[in-house]
Symmetry: C2
Subunit: 347 residues, 2 copies
Amino acid sequence: MGRWRNKALTEYLENEIQWIGKPNYASAFPLPSPGRVPPLPSRKKLSSPTIRSRFQRMIMEVQDSVCGALEALDGAGNFKEDAWTRPGGGGGISRVLQDGHVFEKAGVNVSVVYGVMPPEAYRAAKAAVTDQKPGPVLHPKNPFSPTLHFNYRYFETDAPNDAPGAPRQWWFGGGTDLTPSYIFEEDVKHFHSIQKGACDKFDPSFYPRFKKWCDNYFYIKHRDERRGLGGIFFDDLNDYDQEMLLLFATECANSVVPVYIPIVEKRKDTAFNERHKAWQQLRRGRYVEFNLVYDRGTTFGLKTGGRIESILVSLPLTARWEYDHKPEEGSEEWKLLDACRNPKEWV
Amino acid sequence: MGRWRNKALTEYLENEIQWIGKPNYASAFPLPSPGRVPPLPSRKKLSSPTIRSRFQRMIMEVQDSVCGALEALDGAGNFKEDAWTRPGGGGGISRVLQDGHVFEKAGVNVSVVYGVMPPEAYRAAKAAVTDQKPGPVLHPKNPFSPTLHFNYRYFETDAPNDAPGAPRQWWFGGGTDLTPSYIFEEDVKHFHSIQKGACDKFDPSFYPRFKKWCDNYFYIKHRDERRGLGGIFFDDLNDYDQEMLLLFATECANSVVPVYIPIVEKRKDTAFNERHKAWQQLRRGRYVEFNLVYDRGTTFGLKTGGRIESILVSLPLTARWEYDHKPEEGSEEWKLLDACRNPKEWV
């Protein structure tokens, strides 16, 4: 895995982290997970293990472990890496695997964004739009393998320069959600129960609350359906101990590999026909509709001139729209649609 | 062509037209064109040939002639027809040809919408959002055949009930634009010069003004490129004689067949390879991006609960997104992109 983080990129991110010590806000949105963690050369240089730097390190480690697990599973495709900088401050590392053996398109990004906020925005910082991006999205080829999306982020403000004693603000956001084209109950239960387990370690109210939040967030209003079968979603979370929330975000992020990889492993070679593929492509069309019309990260990114390729890497490689397509009642396609219209309790 | 307008549908639209005599606003957006015009059974019933009823008749005739020309060209696919009503008042006829021999997806809609406006909206009627839909879109299969979009509409208000003497307001809007994946200069010149000819019959300022308006309207801001090679676009047009503008809209609408059909006829069987197809699919992805993110008709329709299938019929059957795709400088793909970034004068 060492090849992921070459020297130049590491310096770049390190420098950003060092530099970030002063600015008015910093936000990071990416991906966490468990597994083999490469020894980061930056480890020794970070003198003060702030929440920010620990979160940053965590998501970089998760990027490594998720990409490693995906490559191992795919067997053919390799991630290509792009480092980019943001004119307003910050930058990121995008990794994209395209047209692999198992995955049609998998994008796994880490970014660190910082800059100066106007005082009004600082005062209402939670309402201020954070430069959020859609998180990593994994689109497999096989119609029986679900798409996965996840996104973990930490946001922090320093006091404005003209009011050095003003309180700092911070919060966590994140989530992991599953978008299958066909329902295998055991898969969906596996997915939700691991997430519930991660939540329950911290607060028994988390899973029911964040599961509902997820169902509400990934809602395609003009279709009256969710884009998939949910998972967990939370935002603006700061009414708990900060250390506890960092551990919670880490736990969720570390769950990405175990909630997802076993499902794809099981379904990646399932035989399918043209009908299954066309239905998967129609559901990918819904994915595009959600991301371009509703997703806050995408719509905000498009309007404010974010790095387009990083924002739109969440779109599937291919998608399809048929006029007035209606699955036959009782069919497998209809069952999926029904579950997207009427969210169920899976655990 | 007589089969297009079956008895039930005719009654339906007629009834709408009759009923429309009273309401506070009426807006119609569809497609006009020349050719063989079927004898509309409604012809005798319309006692007063108002601008509204003449426009309505014109767009229905254009729907017939465009669909007839497309079916004749396709040779295999047939249009399927759906009539629908709008809860707030009005309705329409959608015709969709899918997976034909020449066309991947062609949707040709006519709609009539009416209802009551709040007084503030009446007073600022041009600013009031009209229930506009994206117009007909024709997506051929062959990557060397361009996509065509067009949309002609007429909007009219009666005086509010509480102010019978208040002035009526009305305007015309419309346009026809071409979206190729590859540039054949003779095709683009053919397209633009017929449109210029149609404009020049009425006012020499029309073509330059509406050509520029079109380039500005179909702009994908986050890509800094237009979705295609333009055409003409106009809206809120009421500062000319009303009769003249009806004739102008009719002329433009009647140009749809001659500007487009000869191009597809010439290119529909051109040999192509996978690279050409993939590029066409990437350009279709841009089409989706424009329609879902920027197109006023689509975004308004999605937000206000319009008939989703009619609104999204404009989307291509299939589309594609590759991460960070950049055509090689000087290639045919690059030339198209360059023309989408730097609009040219074609005539």
